[in-house]
Structures are given as structure tokens and as C-alpha cells.
């Protein structure tokens, strides 16, 4: 016997290959992030001429100074905050009671309703009918339109519903014996017990809203209402095609590349601040629906 080595040669090779692959993944997600940060604090010329690869070149905060003095940056930032917070609240207010009702066996037609909701996960009318629908509802170019149009998400409803279903029926029965109404049952028993699921759903809503871009661009016309992502896009497209502006910027300490980089970094700041506190819910969300005490 050659000893009691738990790991065979094959195991070790697999381990090394595994770790290298993981490292590659991490680097490939990390690199764009580092590049954006470096670009945002480099001079416009360095970025445009391709000198910035990893670390900042000719460090300067000029791009940030420009961005922070830009009225549209603050307006669109405010809009993004509004869409994220109000949108998430609206989603929770609509989805939590809905999912709760769907999770109760005594609801008539729950199978059919659940099926119809789940159906939208795979099949939907398409973007043009959706657009026409919003238009005909008079929600084009309104803040509330953006909030309402995406308030209900089938995946989240089903996730919440499954979680409510996993809570043992005896809690409901005990609460009924204790005299709870349906609303009290939801508010005092099920919502506290469903915290992990609620945290996950809140997070998913917030992230989707924060990064929301396509529909905001399609549905909103007035500049006063667009979120940061759309403003960013506008900057990139509009400024790039405006030769005069681009060359004017080129000569300055900043270019539109460093400006867009600075805006991206600014838009990431809240996420970076909040992430450590909510990170556990990201992973928890993946394993939801398991056993509950």
C-alpha cells in the first residue's frame, strides 16, 4: 500500500483544473469592473488612445467633477432611485398578498390562476402588443406606468407562493384558533416566517429596477423621467455621433468614455454599499423552497 492518501492523482488534477477555471471566471467578471473604475479616474486622452488597460493612467477626477455638475445626472439618478424603491414596494404590495392567496388550498380556482401566471414565464404576447397595451392604458411616458407595468412578475409570485406553501399548515390552524383574520394571518405569521423569500424577492426587484433599461427607453419620452441607465445610453450614443462635442471633450481632461465610466461607477455605488449586507439572500434565494423548521 502506498499510504492512506485520500486524494488520488486524478482528484488533484481535477481540483487544480477546477480552481483555475473558477479563477478565470472571477477574473473575467472582475476585469470589466476594474477597467471601468480605472477609466473613470484616468485622463480622457489616455482612455481614448487605449493606454488604460488595468490601472489608471494620468489620474484625475475631472470626469467626476463634470458628472456631478451635470443636472441630468442628478435627475436621472433620482429617477432610478424612485423606480427602484417605489417599483419594488408596488411589486411587494401586489405580489405578496397574491402569492399568499394562491398558496391557500381554500382559494377556488387556484390551479387555473397559478397555471395562467406560470404560463407567462414561457409565453407572452410580445413586445409590440405590450407597448400598445401600455399606450392604450395611457401609461406612456409616465412614471407610474413604469412602476405598474413591471410590478407583477410571475417568477417572483411563484417563488413566494411555493415558500408560503412550505410553511406548515399547523401555524395557520393555530393562528385561526387564536382568532387571527386572514389579514392578521398574513401580516403576523406568514410574512415574518417568509422573510428569506421576501428578502430574495425584494432583492430581485431592486436589482431589476436598478438595471432596468429597455422598457424605460421605449416607454419614456421626456428627459425629466428617464432613469440613469437610459441617460447613460443617451450620452454614449448622442455624444459619440456629435463630432463637435466629442472633439471638444477629447481635448479636455475627460472624454465621453471617462464620463460614462464615471456614471457607471456612480450607479454602482449603492449596490456596492448594500451588497455585503444582502449577499446571503442571493445564495439563500437559490435554495428556497427547501425544508422549513
Amino acid at each position: 500500500m502506498s499510504g492512506f492518501n485520500l486524494y488520488t492523482r486524478g482528484d488533484r488534477i481535477f481540483g487544480i483544473a477546477n480552481a483555475s477555471l473558477m479563477l478565470l471566471f472571477v477574473l473575467s467578471t472582475l476585469y470589466p469592473f476594474i477597467y471601468i473604475v480605472s477609466a473613470s479616474v484616468s485622463s480622457g486622452f489616455a482612455v481614448s488612445s487605449g493606454q488604460v488597460v488595468l490601472w489608471p493612467v494620468d489620474p484625475t477626477l475631472a470626469a467626476y467633477k463634470h458628472v456631478l455638475s451635470d443636472r441630468m445626472f442628478w435627475i436621472s439618478y433620482g429617477n432610478t432611485l424612485y423606480y427602484a424603491i417605489v417599483g419594488t414596494l408596488a411589486s411587494l404590495i401586489i405580489m405578496v398578498p397574491g402569492a399568499f392567496a394562491l398558496s391557500r388550498p381554500r382559494l377556488r380556482g387556484r390551479r387555473l390562476i397559478t397555471f395562467l401566471i406560470a404560463f407567462t414565464l414561457w409565453f407572452h404576447a410580445g413586445q409590440i402588443p405590450f407597448f400598445l397595451n401600455i399606450r392604450d392604458l395611457g401609461l406612456l411616458d409616465t412614471r407610474i406606468g413604469i412602476v405598474l407595468a413591471f410590478a407583477c412578475n410571475a417568477f417572483n409570485v411563484i417563488l413566494l407562493k411555493s415558500y408560503f406553501e412550505s410553511i406548515p399548515a399547523s401555524f395557520e390552524e393555530a393562528a385561526r384558533m387564536d382568532g387571527a383574520t386572514d389579514f392578521q394571518l398574513l401580516w403576523k405569521i406568514f410574512i415574518p416566517l417568509a422573510k428569506p423569500a421576501l428578502a430574495t424577492v425584494t432583492l430581485l426587484c431592486l436589482v431589476t429596477r436598478w438595471n432596468g433599461y429597455f422598457w424605460a427607453m421605449v416607454l419614456l419620452r421626456s428627459e425629466e423621467k428617464i432613469p440613469l441607465q437610459v441617460y447613460l445610453k443617451k450620452l454614449i450614443v448622442d455624444l459619440k455621433s456629435d463630432d463637435g462635442f466629442a472633439s471638444r471633450l477629447m481635448t479636455a481632461e475627460y472624454s465621453f468614455e471617462t464620463i460614462t465610466a464615471a456614471i457607471m461607477v456612480a450607479s454602482l455605488i449603492p449596490v456596492v454599499i448594500v451588497y455585503p449586507y444582502i449577499q446571503k439572500y442571493f445564495t439563500k434565494g437559490m435554495t428556497l423552497g427547501g425544508v422549513k423548521e
Binding site: 399547523s170 401555524f171 390552524e173 393555530a174 385561526r176 384558533m177 387564536d178 382568532g179 423548521e293
Partner: protein
């Protein structure tokens, strides 16, 4: 406090009948235990009384009020669940106070009632803990506390001790009994443990297959089982059942042995019957039936003998229990003499008791 009356109660799930017409009257302050094998409908009956299951047919009254269509919270009933169902996100005090909070009781009243219940149950030092920080027995007490604070008309228990280990079960058994003696609240208690039933109940309801087989005091059921099912269900080890027929000189077992019968049985000569004798109602005497010992199980205070009565065609297992020690070994033949006064006779077809 209140009496509970169940009249011809039926329950079906879809087309599957579960209760076939149960009638019972439970007096104010009584401690009634529902026993029966798994699946016989004990929990269903209890949950119907609680209002957690609808009534298919029949009537449930609490006091003088028909509650068939009254929601649980208006029935003034408290229930202790098998898995306790303590709210995991609330402390012990909050768990106990929950029903009072929903009723919008005053802070002072809530504190006073929770303190009082905690004192009764010895939970004073645990009021700020969460259920997961409690032992099984403590959780059990909190579940009872939650029921006590409401001062309900009726307590319902569904197998409250089945998650506890044997020792704790015995302890909680006497605690629940003491609690009942103190509060005198009408109690309906489900178990499938016949010892629990015998030791705790004022009256026992024996159920089987959605039917009530017999209701009576523990000793009634032990002394006068209405049928073979009750006879075998109540008492441990179970009553011996020897099939045969009633003859002129006694009971003629299918093995050919003649067993002693009280003279009152003579009127039934020729009838096919089952002879019932409890393991503890036999003595060792040379005139008794000869049985071959299969195993000997001494517990110290008692000796349990598993034996076999053999005839030309069939043989029948017979269990006997004796106080103290018995000098017998597997393979020995001993003679068991049934105590004539303790003999039960049942009709072979119907299983009903024959003699009074």
C-alpha cells in the same frame, strides 16, 4: 367551561367517508380521551369540534350553542397541536399572548395572564426565549400556556405527548392531569396510547374505522369491553382470545381443551364464541390448561410468559403475566387456570360481548 355534544356526526373527504355517525356527550369539566388505531378518525373528530374541518352531516354543540358553521375563533376553544405549532418568530411570552393581542386585550391584562400561565407551567424564566431555544417538554408547556391564557370553554389536545421521550411523557401526563384538576376545563384529548388513556381519562371513547366502539370510564372498558376490538385494545398486554363454543361442562376451545365458565353461560350452550381472558387473570394450577412456554420476559416486578395452547388441529397463543418471578423456561409445559370471575365471552361472528 362547557359541555360538548356531538350528534350523529359524519365526515367525508370527497366521496371517502371518514366518520360514520358519531354521537357523544361530554359533560362540563370532564376529561375525555379519544383512542383508536391510526387512521380511525380521532384527529378528524377533534378538528371538527375545533372548527378546522367542516361538518358533512350531524351536529356539534358547545354548551347549548350549535357551532356547525361557527368559525374556530368564535367557538372559544383552545387546541394544543401534536407538533405544538409554536410561532418560531415570537418569544414564549409573545406566543402565549398572541390570542390576547388579537383580541385587543389591555397590556396589563396580557401581562397578568401570561405571568399567571407561566407560573402554573414553570415557564417564568423562559418568557424571552424563542421556541427553538426550548426543549421538547418546555415547548409542550408553552403550547399549553397558549391555550391556558385564553381561558377557553374547552381544551383540545391532539396527541400532545407523542413527540416526547418515554420518561418525559410520563411526567407531562401527570402535569396535564394536575392542570385539569386545577382548571376544571372540559378537555378532549386524542391519543393512540391506551396507557395514556387509562391513566388520564374520566371517560374514554374507543374508535375504529370512523365508528365509536364504546364510551366509558377506563375501568368500565377494562372490566366490560363491549366487543372484541375494545377488549384487545384496552389493557396491556392484550386480552387472550380463544375461539371455540359454549358446552355443557364449560367452554370448548377449538384446540379441544375445556375451560371454566361461570354458570350463567349455560343458557348459551352450543353457541360459537370467543373466550376472553386477560393475561393477568390466570394462575398456575395443575388443573389448568396445559401450555408450552415459548418465551419468558421478566421485568423484575413481573414475569411475562408467551405460551402456546396446542390441539390436534390448531394451536393458540396465550400470554400470561404473573407478579414476581416464575420458574419456567422455554419448552416447559405449565398449567394456566383462568379466573372464572374474569372471563369474557364474545360472539364469534359479531364480536359483541355475550355475558353481562
Amino acid at each position: 367551561m362547557s359541555s360538548v355534544h356531538v350528534r350523529d356526526l359524519k365526515k367525508s373527504y370527497g366521496h371517502a367517508p371518514v366518520l360514520h355517525g358519531i354521537s357523544l356527550d361530554i359533560e362540563d369539566g370532564e376529561f375525555v380521551i379519544l383512542v383508536g388505531p391510526s387512521g380511525c378518525g380521532k384527529s378528524t373528530l377533534l378538528r371538527m369540534i375545533a372548527g378546522l374541518e367542516g361538518v358533512t352531516a350531524g351536529e356539534i354543540r358547545i354548551g347549548s350553542r350549535v357551532v356547525n358553521n361557527v368559525p374556530p375563533k368564535e367557538r372559544d376553544i383552545a387546541m394544543v397541536f401534536q407538533n405544538y405549532a409554536l410561532y418560531p418568530h415570537m418569544t414564549v411570552a409573545e406566543n402565549m399572548a398572541f390570542s390576547l393581542v388579537l383580541k385587543r386585550a389591555s397590556k396589563a391584562e396580557i401581562t397578568q395572564k401570561v405571568q399567571q400561565a407561566a407560573a402554573i407551567l414553570g415557564l417564568e424564566t423562559m418568557l424571552d426565549r424563542h421556541p427553538k431555544e426550548l426543549s421538547g417538554g418546555q415547548r409542550q408547556r408553552v403550547a399549553m400556556g397558549r391555550a391556558i391564557v385564553r381561558d377557553p370553554k374547552v381544551f383540545l389536545f391532539d396527541e400532545p405527548l407523542s413527540n416526547l421521550d418515554a420518561k418525559l411523557r410520563v411526567q407531562m401526563r401527570s402535569e396535564i392531569k394536575a392542570l385539569h384538576q386545577r382548571l376544571k376545563t372540559t378537555t378532549i384529548y386524542v391519543t393512540h396510547d391506551q396507557i395514556e388513556a387509562m391513566t388520564m381519562a374520566d371517560r374514554i371513547v374507543v374508535m375504529r374505522g370512523g365508528v365509536m366502539e364504546q364510551m366509558g370510564t377506563p375501568l368500565d372498558l377494562y372490566d366490560q369491553p363491549a366487543n372484541l376490538f375494545v377488549a384487545s385494545f384496552i389493557g396491556s398486554p392484550a386480552m387472550n382470545q380463544i375461539p371455540g363454543s359454549i358446552g355443557a361442562k364449560g367452554f370448548v376451545a377449538d384446540t379441544g381443551h375445556v375451560l371454566p365458565l361461570p354458570t350463567s353461560a349455560v343458557a348459551q350452550i352450543g353457541r360459537s364464541a370467543v373466550y376472553g381472558i386477560r393475561p393477568e387473570h390466570m394462575t398456575l394450577e395443575p388443573s389448568g390448561m396445559p401450555v408450552r412456554v415459548k418465551t419468558v420476559e421478566p421485568t423484575g416486578s413481573e414475569t411475562l410468559l408467551l405460551t402456546e395452547l396446542s390441539g390436534p388441529q390448531t394451536s393458540i397463543d396465550i400470554t400470561a403475566v404473573f407478579r414476581g418471578r416464575v420458574a419456567a423456561a422455554p419448552g416447559d409445559t405449565i398449567h394456566l387456570q383462568p379466573d372464572m370471575a374474569m372471563v369474557h365471552l364474545f360472539d364469534k361472528e359479531t364480536g359483541h360481548r355475550i355475558m353481562a
